[in-house]
């Protein structure tokens, strides 16, 4: 029987997979397991070897912390609003770049710039442009007579979440544009030609042809972006350190863990973050699947 030939192939496959499996075990599975384990202990970071098991105390402590719920709310607000804006803006720019206009090649390259810039750098650049006294944005606004004195964008507790979302939109819309553009290019131009010949108006063409055919591409892009936004750390941290108005769950967990040295509670908070992300991922993937089933 030539199951023998197949078995030889299977052995080869595992051999080629060996390095990646070692890496996954070492830097993903093992640390994850340790995090889960520490979450049940009262360990401190200065000496993690001394601890006792406290079962679910840490999990309950996190849930009883008002700051945790503020962080959850911030994270969800940030994720929903920024991904929604990015999707709309990304779709608009992708449609624009897909049209045959002079200079679109240049624009396609330019759109990659915000995406490639480190988050820290982008944050600093916008922080400078949004500076209340010397920022170019306030200068332009007062020059246009829209405001009489500079707005303290990053200092005001009511505006800072808006700033975080705005900068995130600037940085990550390119990713949306690229994925949607790739989806657009998968659509055969003949379909649009057929719609043209049939005299279908532009808005209807967009609504009944372009958008339904882009659904898979947009779905995947939204999934990636949502999962990325839920773990956002660097942007809010660099802009406002631990300012409660923009503290995300990642910042909260790291603060407990590193700044307060609470290995046990910090791990419990991390575990909650993990569960939150997993839950959202399952929901989104479920919704995408349902869509696909309904489409066929």
């Amino acid at each position: 029987m030539s199951a023998k030939l197949a078995r030889r192939d299977h052995r080869a496959a595992w051999l080629f997979l060996l390095p990646v499996l070692v890496v996954i075990l070492l830097v993903a599975v093992w640390p994850l397991a340790r995090t889960f384990y520490f979450a049940f202990t009262d360990a401190y970071l200065d000496d993690p070897s001394v601890y006792s098991i406290v079962w679910f105390d840490n999990f309950i402590e996190v849930l009883n912390d008002r700051s945790w719920w503020v962080a959850v709310r911030n994270t969800l607000v940030f994720t929903v609003i920024s991904v929604a804006i990015e999707t709309g803006l990304g779709l608009a720019i992708a449609l624009l770049l897909n049209a045959a206009i002079p200079g679109r090649g240049l624009a396609r390259a330019a759109i990659l710039v915000p995406w490639a810039i480190p988050v820290v750098v982008a944050t600093k650049m916008w922080e400078w442009m949004l500076n209340d006294q010397f920022g170019v944005i306030n200068k332009i606004l007062s020059g246009l007579g829209l405001v009489d004195h500079g707005i303290a964008w990053t200092a005001s507790s009511s505006l800072i979440m808006g700033v975080v979302i705005f900068v995130d939109v600037w940085m990550t819309t390119p990713f949306m544009v690229l994925l949607i553009l790739a989806g657009l290019q998968l659509i055969s131009p003949e379909i649009f030609e057929a719609a043209d010949v049939d005299g279908i108006p532009a808005w209807k063409r967009f609504w009944s042809i372009t958008l339904p055919m882009l659904r898979p591409a947009i779905g995947v892009a939204v999934l990636f972006r949502v999962l990325d936004a839920l773990r956002m750390f660097d942007l809010a941290y660099v802009l406002a350190a631990s300012n409660e108005n923009v503290m995300t769950v990642s910042i909260y967990a790291r603060d407990r863990l590193i700044s307060f040295q609470e290995l046990g509670v910090g791990s419990a908070a991390s575990t909650w973050v993990f569960l939150l992300v997993a839950l959202v991922a399952i929901i989104i993937i479920g919704v995408l699947r349902l869509d696909r089933a309904a489409g066929t």
């Binding site: 192939d9 299977h10 080869a12 496959a13 595992w14 080629f16 997979l17 390095p19 996954i24 830097v27 993903a28 640390p31 340790r34 995090t35 520490f38 993690p48 720019i93 624009l96 002079p102 200079g103 624009a107 390259a109 330019a110 990659l112 710039v113 995406w115 490639a116 810039i117 480190p118 988050v119 820290v120 750098v121 600093k124 650049m125 400078w128 442009m129 006294q133 170019v136 332009i140 600037w170 390119p174 990713f175 690229l178 994925l179 790739a182 998968l186 999962l227 773990r231 750390f233 660097d234 660099v238 769950v249 990642s250 967990a253 863990l257 590193i258 910090g266 991390s270 973050v273 991922a281």
Partner: protein, 292 residues
């Protein structure tokens, strides 16, 4: 007669359509210019600001003053130059390791039929969406065991968490695009799996490796959370952390000139790479997502 009017609606004169087309075209070009300003102006402004000294920084003249004092200060600053080197070292090593590990895994996942193939792919995909903060405690312990705390090499190890699943996934989709017959021909010619990978596929994968490598490099170059957590002292920092931690004595003396100069310096190589390899980057980004 109804059918005749349906197939031939009232025609407007050609000049009407020409004018309409021109207006649409004009609006499109205007929108395109807006997009260009939106994406490029912040970077341009950072450059302009970085070449202004003293009080000029606070005047919003749109042209650069081309005074490179801040850049000279950066070059003379051993801490900053050290963090540049650290970043380069960490990013290059991470990229190289992730490509080697990724290609090997991608060959198995893309080319060999084995029962657990889908399961392995799903695990790889799941790890790439992990929030990094979740492994922070365990990773801390791991790095202490290896005695790597506060060493740039620690970052290479931790970055593999995000780059390896990513390179594996993208390279798998790239490898699948090669025609199966090419590999069958090699099998008939007596090649082992290893020889197929090294002699047939790898020489053909230059562009795919470039796409994937650039993405992994950018990911490693820009990482912040692990770099902030696992390095303590200035001489071991990477550039993003160094810039993130530049601070003035008070809010009004915030050294924006220096920060902008550092930002431009750090980003310039990335932007050059991005503009040169634009097509390859787009290919890499979309290979993972669209066909996945």
């Amino acid at each position: 007669m109804d059918t005749a009017t349906l197939s031939r609606p009232l025609r407007k004169p050609s000049s009407f359509h020409r004018a309409k087309r021109r207006i649409v075209r004009g609006l499109q070009i205007f929108a395109l210019l807006l997009v260009l300003v939106y994406t490029l102006f912040p970077y341009y402004w950072a450059f302009v600001s970085s070449t202004k000294q003293g009080a000029a920084l606070y005047h919003s003249a749109l042209v650069p003053a081309l005074d490179f004092t801040y850049y000279r200060q950066l070059i003379d600053n051993p801490i900053f130059m050290g963090s540049l080197l650290n970043s380069a070292y960490v990013a290059v090593c991470t990229t190289f390791l992730s490509l080697v590990i990724g290609v090997s895994a991608a060959y198995a996942l893309g080319r060999i039929e084995f029962p657990q193939r889908r399961a392995v792919l799903m695990i790889v995909l799941m790890i790439s969406i992990f929030p990094q903060v979740v492994v922070l405690s365990g990773m801390f312990e791991l790095i202490n065991w290896f005695g790597l705390f506060n060493r740039p090499s620690a970052l290479i190890l931790t970055y593999l968490l995000s780059t390896v699943p990513f390179t594996t996934w993208i390279l798998t989709t790239f490898i699948r695009e090669f025609p199966r017959e090419l590999e069958e021909a090699a099998i008939i010619d007596g090649c082992s799996h290893f020889r197929i990978l090294t002699k047939i596929l790898l020489p053909l994968m230059g562009p795919s490796l470039a796409s994937t490598g650039i993405l992994a490099f950018i990911l490693a170059w820009n990482e912040f959370l692990f770099a902030l957590t696992f390095t303590l002292t200035d001489e071991n920092r990477t550039v993003p952390v160094a810039i993130g931690l530049i601070a003035g004595t008070s809010r009004y003396e915030y050294p924006f000139g220096q920060i902008m100069a550092a930002s431009v310096t750090v980003t310039l190589p990335l932007i050059a790479v991005v503009l040169v390899f634009q097509r390859r980057i787009v290919a890499g980004l979309t290979a993972g997502a669209v066909k996945g």
